[in-house]
Amino acid sequence: MRAAVVPLTPLLVRSESGLADPVAELREEAVDAVRQLAEGVLRITALCPVDIVGAPADYWWPSGRPGTGPLSEQVARHLVELAGVDVELEVLLVSEIGPAPVADALLVLGDGTACRSQAAPGFIDERAFPVDDLIADALEGGDGDALARLDQDLAAELLVTGRHTFAMLGAAMLASRRTVDAELRYRDDPFGMTYFVAIWS
C-alpha cells in the first residue's frame, strides 16, 4: 500500500490568494507527493473529508474560479492535474470514519488542528500543539495504530479536518499487515492551522 497525505486548504489553488502565493512550498511538496503516489498505478483513491467544519460539501471559489462540489475533492483533482499524472481518480467522500479502504494508492486529504494562534480559524487552544505533534510523529513514523486511535472528540474540537481520513489511513495500514517507509515532507502552520505533507510507501 502506498499513501500520500496532503492538506485541503483552498490556497493550494493558486488563484485564491491573489497576487501573493503564501503556500508555494506547500503546493510544491503536495504536488510532488501526488506524483510519487501515482508512479506505476492506474488509479488513485482519494479520501476526501466532507461535511465537517473546514471541509464544506459544496465549495464555490471566492475568487470566482469555476468549480463546485466538495472542497476536498476539488483540491484533490487540482493536485492531480498539477502533478500531470495520467491516473484515474476515485473519490471517497468521508464524513465519518468508514471501513479501512483497500487501494494501491491512497491520497489522504486532511489538515491538522486549526487552533494554534490568535488569528487561527479556531483561535488558540493549547491542546492543539500535542495533537499536531502526535499526528506528525505518526506520519513520520508510519504509525498506523496511532492514527487509527486518534482522539476523535478532541480532534473535532480542534477542527482537525483530517481526523476521519487519517484514522482510515491508519486502519488501512494496519489491515495491510505491512510496515511502510514513511516520510513527513512538510509541516507548518502559516495561518495557525497545521498542514502536513507525508508519503508512505
Partner: protein
C-alpha cells in the same frame, strides 16, 4: 425613504457618518484607546464636533478574544450611554451588541439604534427594539456564531445571500413592531467572508440598495482593505475611503467609520459629483 433613527429623522439624500466608539480593551484598530469611560466620552465630543450624526458604542470586540460576559458588556455600555445622552440630547446613539439583555439596558438609557452586528443571533433583540421604538441594523453574518472568525466560507452568490438574509431579518423586525423606516441592512464586510467576498459586495452594493432598505456599510480599516492593499491596520485609510466612495456612489446611506473628517469629505465629494449637494463654494471662473 426618510430614515428614522430614534429621536432623529434624516431625508433620503443625507449620507450619515456613524463614528465608532469602542469601550473595549482589544478592538483591532484602536486597541483599547477608549476603553476608559472618560477617554470614550472625549472621543464622542470630538466626533460630534467633526460632524458625525451617529455614535456607535461597542462593548465587545468583534473578533475572537477573552470572553466578555453580558454583565461586563452592560457595565461598559449602559452607564456610558446615559452619560452621552445627558451631554448630547439630540445625538443618535447606536449600540453595537447582539445581546437582548444589553439592548434593553441601553435603550432604557436612551439608545436610538441597536446595531446587531451578528445578524439576529439573539432573536430577542428585535423585540427590544420594537418595545423601545429603537432603530435596528440587520447584518449579514450567514449564521455565524458571534466572534468566531470565518473559516473556508463559501457562497454560491455572496450578494444574493446578503440580500436574502438581511431582508428576511428586516421583515422580521417590522413584523415584531420596529417601524419600517427605522430598519437598516448591512452586508457586513469581513464577517464570515473572504476578502474576495467583501470586494464583490462592494462592487455590487447597488443590488442591496435596490431592495429599498437603507444600507449601512462598515468598511473602516477592515482586513479586506488590508489584504487588498497589503497594509497593516494603520495603513488602510486610503483603501477605506476608496471603498467608501464606491459605496456612496452605489447609494449606501450610513457609514460606520473610525475617521470621521475624512469619511465626511468623501461623502460630500461623492454627493456633489452625483449632483445632489452643491459645492461648499463655487466662484471659480464666475467673477
Amino acid at each position: 425613504m426618510t430614515l428614522r433613527l430614534g429621536r432623529q429623522s434624516f431625508a433620503d439624500d443625507r449620507l450619515l457618518v456613524m463614528a465608532i466608539v469602542n469601550r473595549t480593551r482589544d478592538s483591532f484598530y484602536d486597541r483599547g484607546a477608549t476603553y476608559a469611560e472618560d477617554a470614550a466620552l472625549e472621543r464622542v465630543r470630538r466626533v460630534v464636533d467633526e460632524g458625525a450624526e451617529i455614535v456607535d458604542i461597542g462593548g465587545v470586540k468583534a473578533g475572537p478574544g477573552p470572553d466578555v460576559s453580558p454583565e461586563e458588556e452592560l457595565r461598559v455600555t449602559a452607564g456610558f450611554v446615559a452619560r452621552v445622552r445627558a451631554e448630547f440630547p439630540d445625538l443618535v446613539i447606536s449600540v453595537d451588541t447582539w445581546r437582548a439583555s444589553v439592548g434593553r439596558a441601553v435603550c432604557q438609557e436612551g439608545a436610538d439604534l441597536l446595531n446587531d452586528a451578528w445578524g439576529g443571533h439573539d432573536p430577542g433583540l428585535t423585540e427590544v427594539a420594537a418595545e423601545f421604538g429603537a432603530a435596528y441594523c440587520c447584518t449579514h453574518t450567514a449564521g455565524a456564531t458571534p466572534r468566531q472568525p470565518p473559516h473556508r466560507v463559501t457562497y454560491r452568490d455572496v450578494v444574493r445571500s446578503a440580500i436574502d438574509d438581511t431582508v428576511l431579518l428586516a421583515e422580521r423586525c417590522v413584523a415584531a413592531g420596529v417601524p419600517r423606516e427605522s430598519v437598516l441592512i448591512d452586508p457586513a464586510h469581513d464577517f464570515e467572508k473572504t476578502t474576495w467576498h467583501s470586494l464583490e459586495l462592494t462592487r455590487r452594493l447597488d443590488e442591496m440598495v435596490a431592495t429599498g432598505w437603507p444600507v449601512l456599510v462598515s468598511l473602516s480599516n477592515k482586513d479586506f482593505v488590508g489584504e487588498t492593499l497589503d497594509q497593516p491596520t494603520g495603513g488602510r485609510l486610503t483603501g477605506t475611503l476608496a471603498a467608501t466612495a464606491i459605496s456612496a456612489w452605489h447609494g449606501a446611506r450610513v457609514y460606520r467609520a473610525h475617521e470621521v473628517v475624512e469619511t465626511r469629505q468623501v461623502l460630500d465629494m461623492v454627493a456633489s459629483i452625483r449632483g445632489v449637494r452643491p459645492p461648499a463654494t463655487s466662484t471659480r471662473a464666475l467673477a
